[in-house]
């Protein structure tokens, strides 16, 4: 019966309700791993420029590892291999596909975001640190009150880039059967054997998320521009 439906009727009755469900999962994946990635990325960046050598090395090792291997492999590793490894150490952890997806995506994006943050911090003129230290501000106060606030506007474009990439990369989590947007699309497509009508909506779904992200970013950029233009 569905086979006879026209494009709009098919979309409205069958495709959109399921895809909305998938889009919800994609949004959750993007949002949660984005936030976690930002937090972890900030830590990694601070470790990377810390005066303690050991922290530098931990951070460098982490970033090299997560940027040097495919995300798809990381997802599969966390979902299939990690529980087995942990089991060997008597740790029983059942990782559902959603948690595994969040874990892989946030660990991965943190590595990229860390490099963006580090570049942002290093791009602030040395005179700013000197002026702050000359006033008696501690290393810590200088970083949090003077340097990091000045990086915000500079890092917004690359951070948005990374978050857009993350949005699209959530689709890789479909390999561990998590019902996000792409997974739902594939299932619908093969069930009804109507491929383009399904995929075109999925494409639109990703496009909308990325556009919303860019819109929010440009608003933040404008607001920061009003405040001193840095």
């Amino acid at each position: 019966m569905e086979a006879e439906l026209g494009f709009w009727a098919f979309s409205k009755m069958i495709v959109l309700p399921r895809l909305m469900e998938g889009m919800g999962v994609t949004l959750k994946l993007t949002f949660i791993s984005g936030i976690l990635g930002l937090i972890l990325g900030m830590f990694l960046a601070l470790m990377r420029i810390s005066q303690f050598k050991i922290l530098n090395w931990v951070s460098i090792l982490y970033i090299t590892l997560f940027r040097g291997t495919p995300l798809l492999l990381q997802i599969l590793f966390i979902y299939f291999a990690l529980p087995t490894i942990l089991e060997a150490y008597q740790i029983n952890m059942i990782l559902d596909s959603f948690s595994a997806g969040i874990l892989a995506l946030s660990l991965n994006s943190a590595a990229y975001l860390a490099e963006i943050f580090r570049a942002g911090i290093l791009s602030i003129h040395k005179g700013q640190t000197e002026a702050a230290r000359a006033l008696g501000l501690s290393r810590h106060q200088t970083m949090y009150k003077i340097i990091i606030p000045q990086t915000y506007r500079r890092i917004i474009p690359p951070v948005v880039n990374e978050l857009s990439a993350l949005t699209k990369e959530t689709s890789l989590v479909s390999v561990i059967s998590l019902g996000e947007l792409l997974y739902m699309t594939q299932r619908l497509g093969s069930r009804y054997l109507r491929v383009w009508e399904v995929y075109i909506w999925a494409a639109l779904g990703y496009l909308i998320i990325v556009m919303i992200l860019s819109f929010i970013a440009s608003r933040i950029e404008k607001r920061l521009e009003l405040k001193g233009g840095v």
Binding site: A131, R133, A134, L135, L137
Partner: protein, 247 residues
């Protein structure tokens, strides 16, 4: 304004960058209220000397006695933080914090380092801005100010910490010629209040007029020092004579 009370004694201060010796065992002392001007050719180590005084550059050797407190290359970071908070510094490139308003630039360190209340910091900022003639710019951001105005704010920012000594590192060198005067005037006014000042400058007329003592540095050494009359009118060392003649 000069008294006999010594507040800063520098003994055998040296600084190397790798194999490059920039300062060679410099010793001198500064009394309360004294205005010391350091002159010398580019690369003579004047700026490095100034930056070593407040440990923005950590010296390679030597000792600083500031009001009885001893600082050396082994001093702990929190000791240096407190020390720096008592020494104001004004930079060639102003280095105002561009993300903060003029008011916030001035009140930040008093509030976070000296733990002064917001109201008190604000009142002090008002007064300092009045002194440097920039009351109407209190809510402006640095990018809206001219170079001369930025440097006056930077001076006010340093003074907000109620420092015991002010260091000026070529404070007018980055300014357009027509803006130099307004900054020098603020510095002159400050000298007249009895502030202890160490000034690295190329403004010789200013040095002559304001300083109690002129130090001539070359190749990492103090070659000659004395009153402005002595150094400018009857220098003894050949290197000083050559430098003064070329002015």
């Amino acid at each position: 304004m000069k008294s006999n009370e010594v507040i800063l004694t520098i003994s055998n201060l040296s600084k190397k960058f790798g194999d490059n010796v920039v300062l060679k065992d410099i010793s001198t002392s500064v009394t309360k209220g004294e205005v010391v001007v350091i002159i010398g050719p580019s690369g003579s180590g004047k700026s490095t000397f100034l930056r070593c005084i407040n440990y923005l550059e950590v010296p390679t050797g030597g000792e600083i006695d500031f009001e009885g407190q001893i600082l050396n290359p082994k001093s702990k970071e929190h000791v240096l933080d407190i020390y720096r908070s008592k020494i104001g510094m004004v930079f060639q490139s102003f280095n105002l914090f561009p993300h903060l308003t003029v008011l916030e630039n001035i009140t930040l360190a008093p509030m976070h380092v000296l733990k002064v209340s917001k109201e008190e910091a604000r009142a002090r900022a008002d007064e300092l801005l009045k002194n440097v003639g920039l009351s109407e710019k209190i809510n402006a951001y640095p990018r809206d100010l001219s170079g001369g105005q930025q440097q006056r704010v930077a001076i006010a920012r340093a003074l907000a910490m109620k420092p015991d000594i002010m260091l000026f590192d070529e404070a007018t060198s980055a300014l357009d010629p027509e803006l130099v005067g307004e900054v020098l005037k603020v510095m002159k006014d400050l000298a007249h209040t009895g502030m202890t000042m160490i000034i690295v400058t190329h403004e010789m007329d200013f040095a002559r007029e304001v300083s109690d003592r002129v130090i001539f540095m070359d190749k990492g050494l103090i070659v000659e020092q004395g009153t402005p009359q002595e150094v400018f009118n009857s220098p003894k060392e050949k290197r000083t004579i050559d430098f003064i003649r070329r002015l």
